[in-house]
C-alpha cells in the first residue's frame, strides 16, 4: 500500500509547496516547453541544463524537501540507467569503440551506440524532472482549470475531475479492505494474496457503481444539469514570466546550435 502513500504525499506537496499559488498556466507552459525541447533537441547538454534548472526551481523556490525529491528520482533513474546501458553496449553503427573477439563470439561496442545511450539517459532524466516539476508544484485543480482555459474537451476535464476526487475516496476504502484482510491472514501466502487482491478489486468495482449513483443524486440536489461548472479565480499568467520562459527555451536552442557548430 506504499503506492497509495506516495500518491497522497505527491498530492500534498502540490498543494503546500511554495509555488502552489503562482499561475498554473506559466508552470504548465514551462514544464511542457522544457520537456519537448529536452527530448527533441539532439544535444545531451540540453536535458542536463533542463534537469539542473528544474531541480533548482523545485528545491530552492518550491521548497520541496530534497530527500523526497531524490526518493522520487531513484527508482526511475535505476531503470533508465539499466536500459541505457543496454542501448550503449548493443546498439550503434560506424566507428567501433572497442571489440571483443572470441573464436565463437564477436561483440563490438560502437561510439555512436554509447553516444545514444548517454543521450537517451539524460533526455529521460530531463523529461522526468519536468514532469516532477509540474506534478509537485501544481495542484490538480489548477491543471484542470488550465486545461479548461486551453479549451480541452469538457467531457475529458469533467471525467478527470471526478476521477481525481474519488480516487482518494477509493484508495482509502482499498487500504481499509487490505488491512481487514491482512488481519484475517488473507495475504499470508502467494495464492491467498492473489485471491484477496481480486476480492478487493471486485468489491471496489461494485462500490464505484454505488458511489456514482449517490454522487449523481447529490449533484442533482444542487441543480446539476449535465455541466460541471467550475470557478476560475486563479491568477492570470504574468507576461514577464512568459517572456522569461521563452528566453530560457531560446537559450536551449542556442546551446544546441553551438554544440553542433563545435563538432
Amino acid at each position: 500500500m506504499s503506492f497509495i502513500n506516495l500518491c497522497a504525499q505527491i498530492d500534498r506537496c502540490a498543494y503546500t509547496n511554495a509555488l502552489a499559488k503562482s499561475s498554473p498556466t506559466t508552470k504548465v507552459f514551462f514544464a511542457l516547453s522544457a520537456l519537448i525541447l529536452s527530448v527533441s533537441l539532439p544535444s545531451p547538454l540540453v536535458p542536463i541544463i533542463v534537469f539542473l534548472t528544474t531541480t533548482v526551481l523545485l528545491l530552492h523556490f518550491a521548497k520541496i524537501p530534497a530527500h523526497f525529491y531524490s526518493s522520487l528520482l531513484v527508482y526511475p533513474t535505476i531503470i533508465v540507467a539499466l536500459s541505457c546501458l543496454i542501448i550503449a553496449l548493443f546498439f550503434g553503427y560506424g566507428e567501433p569503440l572497442t571489440a571483443i573477439v572470441l573464436p565463437w563470439f564477436g561483440w563490438t561496442v560502437f561510439k555512436s551506440g554509447v553516444m545514444m545511450g548517454v543521450t537517451t539517459f539524460f533526455r529521460v532524466e530531463g523529461a522526468l524532472s519536468c514532469l516532477y516539476f509540474l506534478v509537485l508544484t501544481t495542484p490538480m485543480t489548477d491543471i484542470f482549470i488550465t486545461l479548461r482555459r486551453a479549451h480541452m474537451p469538457k467531457i475529458l476535464i469533467e471525467m478527470s475531475l471526478l476521477i481525481y476526487r474519488y480516487m482518494f475516496v477509493f484508495m482509502e476504502v482499498a487500504a481499509q479492505m487490505y488491512t481487514a484482510q491482512k488481519l484475517r491472514l488473507g495475504h499470508s501466502s502467494w495464492q491467498k494474496r492473489i485471491r484477496s487482491t481480486a476480492l478487493i478489486a471486485g468489491n471496489l468495482f461494485i462500490r464505484t457503481l454505488e458511489q456514482g449513483e449517490r454522487t449523481f443524486t447529490a449533484m442533482n440536489s444542487r441543480g446539476y444539469d449535465g455541466n460541471i461548472r467550475t470557478l476560475d479565480d486563479l491568477p492570470q499568467p504574468r507576461r514577464v514570466s512568459f517572456i522569461g520562459i521563452i528566453f530560457f527555451d531560446v537559450i536551449l536552442v542556442f546551446v544546441t546550435l553551438l554544440m553542433i557548430n563545435l563538432q
Partner: protein, 290 residues
C-alpha cells in the same frame, strides 16, 4: 404550511415498500427531527422533499402547491430546499472546497462576483474559510460535513434537509454541527428538517418530533410528549435519552417523587435534582459564585 405530505407511499424498483402512507406537515421556521431505527425510510422520506424521488402514490405539497417534477420547477425547489447527505463523500465531488461550494451557485447561473461572495459567506458561516483551497481528502469527517453544509448554504435556501448530520462524528464535532444548525434557525430563520437516530441530541435541538418505523409515522409531537411514552419508543427499537432513562428508573425502582414530565436534557435534569434535594436554585447559585 411549508411542506405537506399527503398519504405518500414509495416503492423502490426492487419492490421494497419504503414509505407506507406517510402524512405530515412542516411549518416555516420549525426544527423537525425524524427519528427512527436504521432502514425505517427516513432517507427515502427526505428525498421526497426536494423532488429527487417521486411518490408512487400520494402527494407532496410545497407552500400548498403540489410539487411539479419538470426540471425547471425542480431547479427552483432545489435552490430553496437544501439537502445535506449523510456521507459527505457523496456530496463533495469537486477537487477543492471552494470549487465544491461554488457548484450550486454556478448552476443557478449567478454572475461570478456573486458566486464568489456566496462562497465566501457560506464558508465563513460554517467556519471553514481557511480551508477554501484544500482538497476534500485533506479534511476530517466533521470538516467535510461542514463543507457539505456550506455547499448548500451558498445556494441561499430557506429549508435545510439533513440526513444524519451527527452520524460518525466525535462528540465535539457533533455538538458544533448542532450549534451551527440552531444558530441558522434562530438567526436566519432556516427551517430545519433532520433525520437522526441520535436520541440524546434530539431534545436539545428539535421542537417537533416524528417517530418512524417500517415506513410509517407511528408518533408525532413535542420531545416531551414523545419521550414520556417509553413503551412505544422501545417498541420501535429506539430508546429515551440516557438522562430521561435514569430518571424513569429512579421513579420506577426507587420510588423517587420525580416530576411526571421527565427531564430530557442535562439542564432539565439539573433542575430536577436540585428540586429533589430541596435546594433552591438561587441559593445554589450563590454558593457557586462564593
Amino acid at each position: 404550511m411549508l411542506f405537506r405530505l399527503e398519504n405518500v407511499s414509495y416503492r423502490y424498483p426492487d419492490g421494497t415498500l419504503a414509505l407506507d402512507g406517510v402524512s405530515l406537515s412542516f411549518e416555516k421556521g420549525e426544527r423537525i427531527a425524524l427519528l427512527g431505527p436504521n432502514g425505517c425510510g427516513k432517507t427515502t422520506l427526505l428525498l421526497h422533499l426536494n423532488g429527487i424521488l417521486k411518490p408512487t402514490s400520494g402527494k407532496v405539497y410545497f407552500e400548498d402547491k403540489p410539487l411539479e417534477y419538470a426540471s425547471k420547477s425542480l431547479l427552483n425547489l432545489r435552490r430553496r430546499v437544501g439537502f445535506i447527505f449523510q456521507d459527505p463523500n457523496d456530496q463533495l465531488f469537486a477537487p477543492t472546497v471552494k470549487q465544491d461550494v461554488a457548484f450550486g451557485p454556478l448552476n443557478l447561473g449567478q454572475p461570478i462576483d456573486k458566486v464568489k461572495k456566496s462562497v465566501d459567506e457560506a464558508l465563513k458561516t460554517v467556519g471553514m474559510s481557511e480551508y477554501a483551497d484544500k482538497p476534500p481528502h485533506f479534511l476530517s469527517l466533521g470538516q467535510k460535513k461542514r463543507v457539505a453544509l456550506a455547499g448548500v448554504l451558498a445556494m441561499q435556501p430557506e429549508v435545510l434537509v439533513m440526513d444524519e448530520p451527527t452520524s460518525n462524528l466525535d462528540p465535539r464535532a457533533s455538538i458544533e454541527i448542532l450549534r451551527l444548525l440552531l444558530r441558522l434557525n434562530q438567526e436566519f430563520g432556516f427551517t430545519l428538517i433532520l433525520a437522526t437516530h441520535d436520541v440524546d441530541t434530539v431534545p436539545l435541538f428539535a421542537n417537533k418530533l416524528y417517530i418512524m418505523s417500517k415506513g410509517k409515522i407511528v408518533l408525532e409531537g413535542s420531545p416531551e410528549e414523545i419521550f414520556s411514552n417509553t413503551e412505544l419508543i422501545r417498541s420501535v427499537n429506539l430508546r429515551s435519552p440516557r438522562i430521561t432513562h435514569l430518571f424513569e428508573i429512579l421513579r420506577r425502582k426507587n420510588h423517587l417523587p420525580v416530576n411526571k414530565k421527565l427531564p430530557l436534557t442535562i439542564g432539565e435534569a439539573r433542575k430536577e435534582i436540585l428540586w429533589l434535594l430541596n435546594v433552591k436554585m438561587d441559593k445554589k447559585e450563590k454558593v457557586n459564585s462564593a
